[in-house]
Symmetry: C2
């Protein structure tokens, strides 16, 4: 039987993207050297959860933070709270926002909110889009970087202008910061400096940070206190979240200082792609550890090309290709693995990739 791209990718010697395999070893590495005497958190209380919440709140420059099992839960709750406060059902976000395309419409089905979609699918939300928005919108959600268009960012000055406009109009600004750490090297700002523009902030621990799962929602005390009630309602106030928390805490300490390397790796790798005829990256020059690779050939053809390259060189560039109009694309997200890739071999892989592309 012919192997799929994912199967071949999972067997290569040098996978280029990500931190490593998502397996039980990640958990073992966290807990093997820990004392068994550490008490579990209990329904959102206890040292293990409270210390971590305080640590991340301080890092984000917010008064308070709450750990959630998922960002889906944290963000729906944030938007619901801002809507309840304003007495409006309207929130605004990008057409490719996580809430719009990955959450089975939870925001509508559970919270009965009415999203207003800003901007076109294939570009960032601009100050101009925000200015044309109705004033009865309770909250504007910005995702930095905008993942589904390759991880793009507005200029920091535009972000400041959007924040000033929203403050002036009494519209709350919420940050989908699933990949917040990853954009700090490009902006040259601290997390707290970016977050100071936002009323509420969500961050994730299993993207660039590489943890098992989990999220933080941060903001003012009154806001996060209320979010704990909603967390209970959603069924997210588990008796024990420590398997995620302790792992997230370690992964945060381990990888936060590496975000600059991941970013530089993305810039370097994107250049190799763009030098390869028939391929372009989006953005052309990455502003975080991620970008998209677009090919002007159908998914099936592109997969065959990639499989050949992986089998010839042992280099694995991606496990998943998706359709995009007449062509195809995939997401690249760089982490710990990149620095272990022999550069000569990587260059050779791109030479082979170019040759295979020319053959098609």
């Amino acid at each position: 039987m012919v192997k799929t791209l994912l199967e071949v990718f999972n067997e290569v010697k040098y996978p280029v993207v990500g931190h490593g395999k998502r397996n039980v070893q990640v958990l073992k590495d966290t807990f093997d050297h820990l004392s068994g005497d550490i008490d579990s958190d209990i329904y959102g209380t206890g040292k293990v959860i409270e210390d971590f919440q305080a640590k991340i709140a301080a890092y984000l420059g917010k008064p308070s933070a709450v750990f959630f099992p998922s960002g889906t839960m944290a963000q729906q709750i944030a938007l619901r709270q801002w809507c309840d406060e304003k007495g409006s059902r309207k929130v605004a976000y990008h057409p490719l926002c996580h809430l719009e395309i990955h959450e089975q419409d939870g925001l509508r089905e559970l919270h009965h909110l009415e999203p207003v979609l800003l901007a076109d699918k294939d570009r960032l939300i601009t100050l101009e889009d925000v200015r044309q928005m109705d004033d009865d919108v309770a909250c504007l959600l910005l995702e930095l970087p905008q993942r589904e268009i390759g991880g793009q960012l507005p200029a920091f000055e535009e972000l400041e202008a959007i924040a000033a406009y929203c403050r002036d109009k009494g519209i709350k600004l919420h940050l989908d910061g699933a990949r917040l750490y990853e954009i700090l090297p490009y902006y040259g700002k601290s997390a707290a400096e970016v977050c100071s523009l936002f009323d509420s902030v969500y961050v994730s621990f299993y993207k660039g940070i590489g943890g098992i799962a989990g999220a933080i929602l941060a903001g003012e005390e009154a806001f996060t206190k209320q979010s704990k009630i909603w967390k209970r309602r959603h069924g997210g106030d588990l008796i024990s979240l420590y398997p995620y928390i302790i792992n997230a805490d370690q992964a945060f300490d381990e990888r936060l200082s590496k975000m600059e390397h991941y970013y530089e790796a993305a810039v370097e790798l994107a250049e190799m792609y763009n030098n390869c005829g028939g391929l372009t990256t989006r953005p052309v020059v990455p502003v975080s550890n991620m970008f998209h690779v677009h090919a002007d050939m159908p998914k099936e053809t592109f997969e065959k090309v990639l499989i050949d390259v992986y089998e010839e060189t042992g280099i694995g560039l991606t496990g998943n290709v998706r359709e995009a109009g007449q062509g195809s694309y995939y997401e690249v997200s760089l982490g710990d693995r990149y620095e272990g890739i022999p550069k000569d071999l990587l260059k050779q892989a791109f030479v082979r990739l170019q040759a295979k592309m020319n053959d098609k």
Copy 2:
């Protein structure tokens, strides 16, 4: 500073209730001997979650099962689905149902359902209560055993009659089986025999089973398939739930056969309480591993009595006493710890308890 009851309880040599401490050791015991190569589940897919779901579905005698991070999430979703199917907003349950008193009104706030409370707070729901219920109720939830009144059970024949009535009236029957395993020795039935009376079933893995967290919702294929969509909406479809699943699987295998011992321990211990003047248990003869202990003295007085007994004997009976009218009470739930308690010392503790009670 004077120690609290909980502090003294946490330091005794012989805690009588529960399985053990809720600490990191529970996780270490699960994962220390496992291979790191086991792949994580990914958003509800993968061998680790699918195998466990199939195993528990078979145990419950249902076609399909879905793992959830919490019972709060699983049960709200079950009731929502039955309501949507019938086109009704009404569900019926006991006034002390978990959804009514422990979930911050999630069922109303998220799902806009309208609970109908059956029976008085201090007794079980009877067939007569069910007969008087409106036919437009979409689903009746029964909790077996009824935890908040000490863990009481209807006769199995009455349960069968309630199930037959609901089937006849087109009212779905949902089982809150957080403590299902614990009642099987008393009923003398298999889990599948009990579950055959219900259209949907929730079971927990951190009560009698002693796992870290997690729940299963089981029923027909179409029902559980839909529940995965709601799980995503609730923010419960985590990228990785394996820390809970693998632990729950081991705890299930380890403790399922011990439920009879836990039940016998409860019967034995309740008798000791009832022989102690001023104390009564509810129910008088337990029907599971749990019961409540009621004292005819105020909480503070009772706590002082208990602290004295713990300090004199090293036996710890409970860490928490609650107010109940003029008197006080606590919940007892028996597990692994009970068989390690020297019987002589336990009897001595009850002699001391009787003496202290008489002094007050």
